[in-house]
Symmetry: C2
């Protein structure tokens, strides 16, 4: 984010204007876009320094850094847009490591011809969601590619946070006997996107669950001494994420199908679309794993948060050198929960 001098800046036509190649060339047009759109909404003392990087306060604790490029299609969907998703995705990746998310960068790749009015909506949502999560967008970058070399807008966000002293969570810390909880209904985001893409008019429109989880994660970090690991099950869904953790910790997992919360509408849409909710992306759900001694307290804290009111304990870690994740069906059968192997849902985030 460079510069904001007054005398050379002509007004940008946000209402009917479109992204032009010169918006990415580093000259007056770039400065115009930055000052009249990005700086206007992201406005904070760090971003406004106007240097090549943002000069930030000293950090008191271990750093956490996470990055995500967002290429979701469509850009606007029921329950959100790419801008909100870009904030939530990175806030959550930092937060699940036990850190308080503090600073975020935003890198835009714009396609020539993209309407500025839509870009403004996206930027406005990013600003609002960043403020809600208490994170500053401190530095940014804009590139423009020719029509047909992008798809409207792609957004990379990278987040930095600080972990409170004495806290160290990891997917590799789980032990047999540990208890696995999920913060609410699974599959909402993926189904919202897919049903919109397929142009399905379900009776009740399914909304993405896209949200920042750092309020909830901070409470768990503070209150649950035996907290081992948190993870937000995005691409690949709950099933893939549990497999990742099982593999990192070299444990097995046993989960109970009847405990896994799924909305009826999402289940119906999944059946229609041929999807398994276990492998459908979430953007505002939390997996948390702790020792058995804190299980009830963990569930209570989750349920007391607006983003965790449908939280459930869904299973436990078990000793298994194959690191299998197995699910008991309501009829007592056992189903293997494998990784998804291919492309279930492309460009879902």
């Amino acid at each position: 984010m460079e510069n904001k001098k007054k005398h050379y800046v002509r007004p940008l036509n946000i209402k009917t204007g479109k992204v032009e190649m010169n918006f990415g060339a580093g000259g007056k047009a770039s400065a115009q876009l930055i000052s009249q759109l990005f700086a206007k909404y992201f406005n904070n003392e760090y971003l406004m320094q106007g240097d090549d990087g943002a000069y930030l306060p000293e950090a008191n604790g271990h750093l956490v850094m996470a990055t995500d490029s967002h290429v979701v299609y469509p850009l606007f969907f029921s329950g959100g847009n790419i801008g909100g998703l870009a904030v939530h995705g990175t806030v959550n990746d930092v937060a699940v490591c036990g850190a308080k998310p503090l600073y975020m960068s935003a890198g835009f790749i714009l396609e020539e011809g993209f309407p500025l009015s839509e870009l403004e909506q996206i930027v406005k949502t990013m600003a609002e969601e960043a403020q809600k999560a208490g994170i500053y967008i401190v530095t940014g970058d804009t590139k423009v590619v020719e029509k047909g070399k992008g798809d409207g807008v792609y957004i990379n966000t990278t987040g930095v946070g600080v972990v409170p002293h004495g806290i160290r969570l990891s997917g590799s810390h789980c032990k047999p006997g540990d208890v696995i909880a999920i913060s609410g209904d699974i599959g909402d985001h993926g189904v919202a996107i897919m049903s919109q893409r397929a142009n399905l008019g379900f009776e009740t429109q399914i909304q993405s669950d896209s949200a920042s989880l750092n309020g909830l994660t901070e409470k768990l970090v503070k209150e649950i001494p035996s907290l081992r690991c948190m993870r937000d099950p995005t691409r690949g869904g709950l099933g893939t994420t549990l497999n990742e953790i099982a593999n990192q910790s070299q444990v097995g997992m046993k989960i109970f199908e009847e405990k896994i919360p799924v909305k009826e509408s999402v289940m119906a849409a999944c059946e229609f679309l041929g999807l398994d909710p276990l492998f459908v992306a979430n953007e505002g759900k939390l997996i948390a794993i702790c020792g058995p001694e804190d299980a009830e307290k963990m569930l209570e804290i989750m349920r007391s948060d607006p983003l965790g009111e449908h939280a459930q304990i869904i299973g436990t870690c078990v000793k298994d050198e194959n690191c299998f994740v197995q699910m008991e069906t309501p009829f007592g059968g056992i189903r293997m929960v494998d990784w998804i192997s291919g492309e279930q849902l492309p460009r879902i985030c």
Copy 2:
């Protein structure tokens, strides 16, 4: 960068394989790409933690954060490729703020069908250049977009560094009388790219100057007490960057054309291509500005570094409420150096 379990990973065909949509879907194919390509080359203790974000050491000092998305075309050019550029660009943005670059994220947006062999070359170069610069690539992300929605590969890198205690540089710190230096010949990167795009066969092929400047910037930070500001003149070139700094500091600048180092071959190519080297991108050049008392020492330090051997003092800051950058020609005339207004060079970085 998630997971690296052995028993599910099939070998990737890097020699003749191409990027497939499922490489970005978060399942087995994603894990395969990560373990056999990214983790193989970027291998370090932070990346290998395998959690959603990287857990890093405590930082002792103010943080600096900078981001850049790279969309350069062509991906491979004389003197480098997009991978090296993505490291250099972000290392330099962090370094010119006076910080030691420590950690970097890498976000890839791959186009379906992109040859894995080319991706490997790019990733290999990134790894080599990161190692040279002493920065760790600690976290990453890969998305895949359909053929025709990208252009091979776009790379976002975001860097975090730490500023030594007591150091605070900014483009807003310059005062009349301050001395402006450039670390070497200008315009190499932009001309290398443009002549390749235009398919010009110049007698001597012009090479990009793409390089990490943090070795040089660290020396200046340490040795030059009156150092006000450093900046790498990328998009928009020397001319635009000087205007930005003049504007931030509310000073004018007077520079001398005969002092500005430009290679003869670059000058000839610029004439042929209709470009002004003042506004052509550099990717391994440094502008440094200090008080007059340290000018000679600054030049000496620059010239003692391999990346600064052609360094020159090119002018001074002057009192000017219009913040004009003016250039004296060899014949004593004065030329205004304005911002470039439009798209001189799209997708140059």
